[in-house]
Amino acid sequence: MFNTSLGIDDLIFLAQGAGMTILVTAIAVAIGTVLGIAFGIFRYQAGPVLAAPVTFVLDLFRSIPLLIQLVLANAFIGTVLRLKMSGFTVACAVLSLYTAAYCAEIVRGGIQAVPSNTRRAARSLGMSWFQDMTHIVLPLATRIALPSWIGLALGVMKDSALVYVVQVTELLKSTQILITRLQEPLFLLLICGAFYFIISFPIARFGGYLEKRWSND
């Protein structure tokens, strides 16, 4: 384990994988959050009946293994529709919707947690629905939802390990490639695990801290 044949090039190779993990995560979380906010507000505002189709579709993304979502999307886009789309694009698209599905729940919960009297106070001051949303509800919902949202973003980063099925070489896949060549599974896996941990742990802690701080006032 200590006399490894892991070279500097290999580390760069791993770093590229890590970069891919972060890139895919960043894109998915960015798009997924925007969509999630839209879906979340829609679900809250439209009521259960009108929102039912959206609710159903979003629920699918939370009820089917991500691995299958990726395989199916890949097969559908490429095999059935015969569109030429890179694995990277497919991965980002699926992960974005996957993120959006969870994010919508978080947003809806956040909005619901804003006390109705606070909203009434805003409306009573003559603010319009939109002003109430932008100045009162979303800022407050953000505070309530941010810890869960951080959890979601980290979850997406960890789940992005599955995009190897659409031929995207992210961190875990890069690690497996190096294992193939160097045959030092334990050492390489520990490096890989440590990387995820080093990114995830402080951010998760920060989320916990925010949650504690904001629930106190």
Binding site: G7, D9, D10, F13, V71, N74, A75, I77, G78, T79, R82, L83, K84, M85, S86, G87, V90, Y164, V165, V166, Q167, T169, Q176, I177, L178, I179, T180, R181, L182, Q183, P185
Partner: protein, 248 residues
């Protein structure tokens, strides 16, 4: 335009290659793709006058990668089974393997028949895996485990998670020789019929399939086939790609 036109006009040929299958496909010390299949893809691209792009896939994913439009052609040591031919179009064989049993010394396996009752494994979705799983079922004893990649199979084998695997002679020798896996032995040939492997592309791309057939023919005629064999596999004669007694 059909795919042949598309590839030529796009300027890139995207090949599905499996890179944990030395010496056919692997990564060199710079983690760049290398191996018989990689060179073969490069040759095909050169013949078409385009650039080659290697898209790494696992064994189970190589056909889905083609079907979902991620690649134009598979150069991935793909056995030309009739089942697969229902989905993709196969060229004439461009290589032929013989398979050998690779065992962990401790298992005491000396011939392929000793595998009976043991825990064996192979790469999910490969010709060997399908044969071996069939054998385990036929024996009615022992366990078969499919792994996602050849690397995981050898990892499992060297850790002792499985007792033996079936791999092409080339892969078996290359892995044993690499010294990465102490304690592995070649336990002789299997009674499998030689494993002819083809290039594949979409089933309805006759133009392209025709082109590939002629290309394979040219590789043999020009001696490039033998040259690649010596470069990657070693001394000796490359397998005969014709089968006595039938047309193809």
């Amino acid at each position: 335009a059909d795919m042949l036109d598309d590839v030529i006009s796009s300027g890139t040929l995207r090949c599905a290659v499996v890179l944990d299958f030395p010496p056919m496909g692997m990564r060199d010390k710079d983690n760049k793709p290398a191996g018989f299949d990689v060179d073969y893809c490069n040759d095909l691209a050169k013949a078409l006058g385009v650039k080659a792009e290697m898209v790494e896939t696992t064994f189970p994913e190589r056909i889905p990668a083609l079907m979902s439009g991620k690649v134009d052609v598979g150069v991935a040591s793909t056995s030309d089974t009739l089942e697969r031919a229902k989905t993709v179009g196969m060229s004439v064989p461009y290589y032929a393997f013989e398979d050998a049993v690779v065992a962990n010394e401790k298992s005491g396996i000396k011939t392929w028949e000793d595998m009976k009752g043991k825990t064996v494994g192979a790469t999910a979705g490969t010709y060997e895996a399908i044969w071996l799983e069939g054998k385990v079922k036929e024996w009615g004893t022992g366990t078969f485990r499919p792994y996602q990649s050849q690397a995981d199979v050898f990892l499992a084998l060297s850790q002792g998670q499985i007792d033996a695997t079936v791999a092409t002679t080339e892969v078996a020798n290359s892995n044993i020789k690499s010294g990465n896996f102490p304690g592995l032995v070649n336990a002789g040939k299997t009674p499998m019929v030689p494993d002819y492997v083809s290039l594949f592309t979409r089933r309805d791309e006759y133009g392209f399939i025709n082109y590939m057939n002629l290309f394979i023919n040219q590789q043999v005629r020009t001696g490039r086939y033998a040259e690649l064999y010596h470069k990657w596999i070693g001394d000796g004669e490359p397998a005969d790609l014709t089968i006595h007694g039938v047309y193809r």
